[in-house]
Symmetry: D2
Subunit: 388 residues, 4 copies
């Protein structure tokens, strides 16, 4: 995409959805370190998300996580969000924290537990109705820790049954986003461990079922951009959960561990139409800011996705195609690297300026005094977190 | 399966297919170490495979690799095999050693190269016709080494086109076995890197297209038995390429690196009907005996598969199911481990004795003097190998 | 070791140390599932450990974890343990759960935090004095999550300083066991990530500093038995933390994921003198029984270590050495596999019977009614756990 | 390093050593694809290396590999190199391609084979004497493929013996560079698998023994820059073998797979004095250009190292240290990322211009017509390669 104005227009129209839980406390099994100023309820989370949007201009949507964001009045929460310039994004179900779910939720050996789990998923569709959310995001921690613990195929059958019931409950403009993950918290089998399993279920469910690619959910060495390209080819890439990792599902800021990989992913997205509204890929963050300040970390993450997108948009597609067709390995690689090596921060600064925003959202936020303000104001109460 | 006679019957009816190239020289990119007595042509390879069958009783089929096993008269080779008590198994195509295939075969950017590659695949179907082989086994080394080198999606389109043409050429009783592999020799993208990609292509091709699981072709941490269970559930598990690995595609003797994993795989096979003739799973070896003597290594490998199968057959399915349904993690694991911890070598010795074979095929082969005989006889000529 | 009585004697003299925290609740960052009957204090943990020892006969030592096992009167706790036939094993320090340790403990940029951390380590030596514990076990979660976050070399300097101070505080018969871990909870650098780093520090500290090998703390593909052999060769293998894993630091029951690996490790231990009292290797468990019942899981784990040890003791060393010296790859591998494939459960049953124990400790424990007893008795109070 | 002229001076003084074998053919076990214009002998390799130096200005040294570069008259080869503006760098031994080395070289069970291997290493020191090479680079493919195949500790003893003999043969200004590698071609144990093993041997040998870090020789997830920092702290980082990998030892162009990792490595080098002549780190390439044109690939690789070095030199050390000391995770990470995100190509273009070179060495080389010239001239003869 050689036309700078087209690049800028694409960057301005991009939407990056931030997760409500990214503003709360998080940690590892060893310790959750609390931070000053962390929100105490979903309404305060919206205020933090609004800060991110105010300084970046591309983050108007917020994912909710039920029950972490359970409120008595979803209409009120939605109005609160709208008042802040936001709208409700994906509804994330949680069937991993009830004591009944120790051995699984929708794949549990006992029918009563499966019923309870499926009912929660249906409840999430109710929340979609109430909030206008278009996406039901399903991640199942279901799996086993020991060989023999349960029947792999029987669990697939149970999974399929629950997914079918929930799929049928979806409204016209609602879709199901099915996430896969290699491991954790299950340590032997996970019931949806890879894109192939998620894809196979989506195929059987119908066109409203699509796959979520969480960039931290793969085995070492997996080529993620390949999966992205394949899912786009099949029309089944529903969303990203962006984050980064050096080891496992580290949930670090997206772009922090391997910015070149993020660029390669965005290159496949751009090349295969994934930025267009028709394709309707939801670009979500799913991160844990265990030791860094949360709002600026989300701002940094949004900027990292923007930078990778900008570089992907700068790839000279004609030159790349010509080099590829001629079998010139070094030349085709060079076209890609040329875009990657470009410093796109000035371009993004211009884009922001044209939108009436500060050139550097990270610095602008830090200068705004908000961080000090919330640290002072949000004293007392129970800070939001995972409740693990 | 608690009935010993049923277990024995299952073990007697198992068929393990051995690869012609397993009898030839192999090595790494650093060195191929030649061994005394290695066959000089496909006819001698058959004689070696016949030794394995003679001492194990379960290895009557031999996979061919074209062009490594190219002969002027396939009918003569087939008759030679039959005279030795063997029959021809899968025909393995080779589209990775022609100079034209440096940048790919059926996914190459140039149409002429793709035509050449597809023609080779069609030629392999001709060989199937001539030898009575039921299985066309396709492994593509196609991929790229550098980001940007070629278009991931365009390569899928080209792959799909070639597979479709070959699929349509298959006869009534012939099937296509599509193999996946994470990497090597391609080091950035591989065009069929995982079971999901192979499965997606097979689904579009039709029921005669099935997936091959090579146990050495996964990312670290991948749960292979999960994939096996899923493919059996979908009716798409066509074959195994058995071998073992500590690191990458090491191609060591099956069961040598992780015998418990092999048992877990065979447990899923047994549990999900994969041993029955209706399911028609082809249990192939695909190994490289770089430093160990080849015929005894194949015998050891066959025995290792038999031992894993025997243990899987000994799993007390009723007790396992009951423990699983009751959610007793330790008890269900214990049922599986009880079978695994059993020393099944006496049982297999009995099975062999009942078939008129020696109780220990490895020892019996070594005592037969064949190894010394072929070392003395096969002098001169060019030893078979990969020709890399 | 061909002499059965010698094998039995070795098995009877083995000591496996169990961790106090293995009897408490544990989980993942997603959820800790509570279990009935879990101890409420260190005294009850001792009672559970005593059960394991009563049924296995080889688990008379218990590791403590400070502050999880902090008590007002360590002499009383020690007497309680001794009354149950136990003694106190390693004292495990904990410098990862205080809010001050968010960015590190002994490697923290601030001197005051380092002082606090080192003081805790010194306090642990006090506990050693009070309990008669011979081993100070140090695991540092210290590290960074983001490139640039801190200076790698400066952190090594700080680590070295703290270790030196603590080492000098050790008494004549006390030693320091330094543990390494690839990652978690730190996700970019860990200050002691591998055996080489631990070894380098131990070398500088002196002979009372030795390395702990936790079997779940390595990168995928790492050959753990190689490290064990090397450390034994250098006289620096202080202890094991046994557990097993399919993915990361899963902390599953030892032997549950790869029993062949456990056998290979014990083979190196036996072969290189690691079972003798002179070598003084501490065979500890360090596991998390997230979903399975804890006492029977520890019993199972102890039995798994015993089975691997028994198999290692059965390796025919003379035959192995002869095959190795002759360069016979298949024969030397066969000697090892012969021992591994042996079902040693009858041998261990005999050993236990000779010690006046039940033949199957797992079944005997379940039949004892203890599990029901503690579930009924331990109601109210706060169950022990990690307090994360 | 904020001073631009100091940065430029550092870049001008950097020396990157290129490998003679990088100009020859290479491939995988599946196929070596020949390329037009590949040198037929070590003299022609020097000419290719001279091209790289001519266009980059920082590659005046060439590593040799014996026996691939064996010549009757090393003085003549040295003079040829000097005439081209080059000098001889590290001498790489090769004890993995003789038929005798199937089961090991210096660690082989048989003394005669070990003698032969050690003699080759001593011969390499002779070559050092004749060529003026300062570095003996030792990589051992030694290891085993199967558990039990040989005695891990005995092999360490044999290794130690050989290293000691060779170390004692070294002259005053010669050093030994010991390389480690996780696996390949050995698939169970490798005798020097990690930095810890190499370091332990170097410690015992003496100050002239140092460790080589080949960036492709680690387990997945290993933090390489951590190892680099540690070895610099210990004064034991002798050299790099630069290349890149997505999976195993892929030997792709350095910086091609993870340019951010390369930058982080160079950051540790710069920060810990590794660029100074006193530290004497040898920055070597060790790559295989299997499918891309070789000379331009080496030029690209040299440029990639330069770009990573330039970015590392641009890190604002004062700002970084201040942020680190204050525990500001986001700020310290931002300082590093700011340098990484800078497009340093204009700076390097200036540096080259100031040295009388073309601004873009890759483009300048392609425009020079050399590639066409050698393709036309080098017809007939046997192309250089690994001879595997």
């Amino acid at each position: 995409m050689s036309d700078v104005s087209a690049v800028k227009a694409a960057l301005k129209s991009q939407v990056i959805e931030t997760p409500s839980w990214g503003y709360g406390n998080s940690g590892t099994r060893f310790k959750v370190f609390a931070q000053p100023g962390v929100p105490r309820d979903p309404f305060e989370k919206m205020e933090d998300a609004a800060q991110v949007h105010a300084f970046t201009g591309v983050a108007p949507k917020v994912s909710l996580h039920i029950p972490w964001d359970k409120v008595a009045d979803y209409a009120a929460l939605t109005r609160h969000a709208e008042g802040l310039g936001l709208r409700i994004g994906a509804i994330n179900s949680n069937v991993f924290q009830d004591d009944d779910f120790k051995l699984g939720s929708v794949t549990h050996p006992e029918a009563a537990v499966r019923r309870k789990a499926t009912d929660h998923l249906l409840e999430c569709v109710d929340v979609m109705d109430e909030t206008g959310s278009p996406d039901l995001k399903l991640w199942f921690s279901d799996g086993t820790n020991y060989p023999g613990q349960d029947d792999i195929v029987a669990r697939q059958d149970r999974l399929s049954e629950a997914l079918t019931e929930v799929y049928e409950r979806l409204g016209e403009d609602q879709r199901m986003l099915l996430e896969y993950k290699l491991f954790e918290p299950a340590f032997y089998t996970t019931d949806v461990p890879d894109w192939g399993t998620a894809y196979a279920h989506c195929l059987k469910l119908g066109p409203k079922a699509q796959v979520v690619v969480d960039t931290g959910h793969h085995a070492p060495g997996t080529n993620i951009e390949f999966i992205v390209a394949l899912l786009l080819r099949e029309g089944r890439l529903g969303a990203f959960d962006f984050n980064s990792r050096f080891y496992a599902d580290d949930d670090l800021m997206v772009g922090a561990a391997d910015p070149f990989q993020l660029f390669r992913i965005m290159h496949e997205v751009v090349k295969n139409g994934g930025l267009t509204s028709e394709t309707n890929v939801n670009f979500m963050l799913d991160q844990c800011h265990n030791i860094e300040a949360k709002i600026p970390a989300v701002i940094r993450s949004v900027a990292n996705v923007q930078e990778a997108t900008a570089k992907a948009l700068l790839v000279d597609g004609d030159a790349l195609g010509a080099a590829q067709r001629s079998g010139d390995v070094l030349a085709s690689n060079a076209v890609l690297m040329d875009a990657y090596n470009t410093d796109v921060r000035p371009l993004l600064a211009e884009v922001r300026e044209e939108q009436g925003l500060g050139r550097d959202p990270f610095a602008a936020y830090l200068a705004s005094g908000n961080q000090e303000r919330i640290a002072a104001a949000r004293v007392g109460g129970t800070q939001a977190g995972w409740g693990a």
